[in-house]
């Protein structure tokens, strides 16, 4: 990963161009300092990365494979399509990479409790899993609306021993869960670590989460070289906060020939008010919220907009500051995929390849499948399948209007 990004100018620690920083209530100042120190210390310890990789290899299934999609490639008749399989991770998404990494840090810091926000529920399940495994107490904050969308994940979090707290503030989605965590942390930080789930929030989170997620990109780069003998022409990833994208992009940042494409939630359309595209379409503007400076969906007076996406994990106002910077630099191109396109892409990928991307990940497929035909067969493209669709069954079945599913629910509910 480009180390340049992390060579902060004096007095600009945690800044990526104009984005980043640490805008938190003073009460959290020392906690963040402690975390930065612990992280720096771990990062400088070669044994730490080895321990981290070992955990990911023995507890999850890293390295996750890269799968060639011959059927889609033939169907679309352009670039060869490869998929990085983060869906195969334990708990079903890339989230576990970050979570296990932070878990090891928590152990180094000697804290006894973790808290986390969750949108799709994936990060909550991953955190609750890590907490169960490492013997930590765990509280998960989740927007009330997201709880309604992602009950199965809530159920498993509870089975894992986590306390799941419904957040009823604001829009009752991911951003409000983050606020709730910051509030909890401001009180509990002596024995509690906040396991932020994406590359947002105050320094050192964007850097730290990118560091752990960079395992995706490191593996993927080597795998593409091994499998195809060359680097991919483009790499696609969906962007909620941006952790899976930052993770896979990290492997290719220094490869100028590789175009990096982030795909945001186009919701009902970027021209409507109902989407979560911060960068694609230029609807976001710079601001400071939830501890960091980046591009947010907000009105002229800095009040955040309601966002909207069929994918709970992308339904978020802000984007990681590193990605905002890479966008500003022109290093990462951003596109948006609408809900309707996402459901279509999901169907196609399931049907043609037997892969079941999460609704979030299906965003990356939308753009990849749109662009593949315009490239040549000499090109390979790589799509990050950040998670699996199992958690989305309620949403997908509803989007597809599956009558038998509804009947099934009625029967189950009547018991």
């Amino acid at each position: 990963m480009s180390t340049e990004l992390f060579q902060f100018a004096p007095g600009r620690e945690g800044y990526y161009g104009e984005f980043g920083g640490a805008f938190v209530p003073e009460i959290l100042h020392e906690t963040l300092a402690e975390l930065r120190a612990a992280f720096d210390d771990a990062r400088d310890d070669p044994a730490f990365w080895r321990e981290y990789v070992d955990v990911m290899v023995t507890y999850s299934c890293r390295p996750t494979p890269v799968t060639y999609c011959e059927n889609l490639t033939r169907l679309l008749g352009g670039a060869r399509i490869y998929v990085k399989r983060e869906d195969l991770n334990h708990t079903g998404a890339h989230k576990v990479n970050n979570v296990m990494g932070q878990g090891l840090l928590v152990r180094r810091m000697g804290k006894r409790r973790v808290i986390a926000e969750t949108g799709a529920g994936q990060h909550g399940v991953a955190t609750a899993t890590m907490a169960a495994r490492l013997g930590l107490a765990c509280t998960i904050y989740m927007g009330e609306d997201d709880i309604a969308r992602q009950r199965p994940n809530v159920f498993w979090m509870e089975q894992l021993g986590a306390d799941v707290v419904a957040v009823t503030d604001g829009t009752r989605t991911l951003k409000d869960a983050i606020n709730a965590c910051l509030r909890d942390w401001a009180e509990s930080m002596a024995d509690t670590h906040y396991v932020l789930g994406t590359v947002c929030g105050p320094h050192p989170f964007p850097r730290m989460v990118t560091y752990f997620q960079s395992i995706i990109g490191q593996e993927a780069r080597a795998q593409m070289l091994r499998i195809t003998g060359a680097l991919p022409r483009r790499v696609y990833a969906c962007v909620g906060g941006g952790s899976n994208a930052s993770g896979i992009f990290a492997g290719f940042l220094d490869d100028a020939s590789v175009e990096l494409v982030g795909v945001e939630a186009g919701g009902k359309g970027v021209d409507t008010e109902q989407h979560a595209a911060r960068l694609a379409g230029g609807r976001g503007c710079p601001g400071v919220a939830q501890g960091y400076k980046s591009v947010f969906l907000q009105n002229r007076e800095g009040l955040m907009h309601d966002t909207c996406s069929v994918a709970a994990g992308l339904d978020y106002i802000g984007v990681g500051p590193i990605l905002a910077h890479l966008h500003a630099q022109g290093r990462v191109r951003f596109e948006a995929a609408t809900d309707a396109e996402v459901v279509e892409a999901l169907r196609l990928v399931i049907r043609r390849e037997g892969l079941m991307p999460a609704l979030e990940s299906a965003h990356a497929f939308v753009t990849a499948l749109k662009e593949a035909p315009h490239l040549s067969g000499a090109d390979a493209i790589l799509v990050n399948q950040s998670g699996r669709a199992d958690k989305d069954i309620f949403t997908v079945a509803e989007a597809l209007g599956d009558e038998r599913w509804k009947r099934f629910l009625r029967e189950k509910a009547a018991r």
């Binding site: 003073e26 503030d169 509030r183 509990s188 601001g287 919220a289 800095g302 009040l303």
Partner: protein, 265 residues
Amino acid sequence: MTRVDAAGLERDVRDGLAKKPILLMTHLVVGYPSLDANWTMLEAMDAARVDLVELQLPFSEPIADGPWFVKANQEAIRAGTSWTTYFDFAARAVSRFRFPVLFMGYYNSVFRMGGERFCARLAAAGMRGFIVADLPPEEAADLNATARAHALDPILLMTPANSTERLREIGRQASGFVYCLGRKGVTGKQTDLSQGVADFLGRCRMATSLPLALGFGIRTPADVSALRGLADIAIVGTACLETWEARGPDAYREFVQALARETAA
């Protein structure tokens, strides 16, 4: 510990402290429950001779606030409280009441407005300073310089979690007075004043010669009374709003009176 060269807000505070042992700062979220209600609150504060007043500009992500103020921020936004609403209201308050009026809010509002414009609008409204809950001192240098050019005091926070070194650093940059947090966490919960508050305020005194205000969890007249001899200013926020919500304007008036009574010489 009086500084001879006190000016601006500090001068006001010291003048007040010359007359009574502790001052009282109260707070409201502009636009919640309504501007009319806010005005009634200000009248109550004025009647009780409250010494300083914070007017909070609502923000959609109020990470330093507890549930009462979160709801207040949200409802005020829903009611359409804009910058113009806010500054018009603040200017009316300044021109009608005696107490110094301070801005309270989150950095995104300042950032979106631009530091220069922010300070100019505060000054134009006759406000005296500002508290930005999520702006750390290392990010505040430019804004604070601009503020001083507009004769505004940026009010910095000291917290029980801060190291001595950090307190000293904050002390170096502060002016007006220092907002000391009675405990960890966000606004709205009770603080056990017996536990460590005196120690903490002692550490703050070592770090600054400015007057010290203590906030977060000061909820009752007895709390205010207990701060006499410890802090220079008692800050009461959530408890006032709770009283208004639960028991109405008359009870609010009485409650503010009761708080203020404990600050008397």
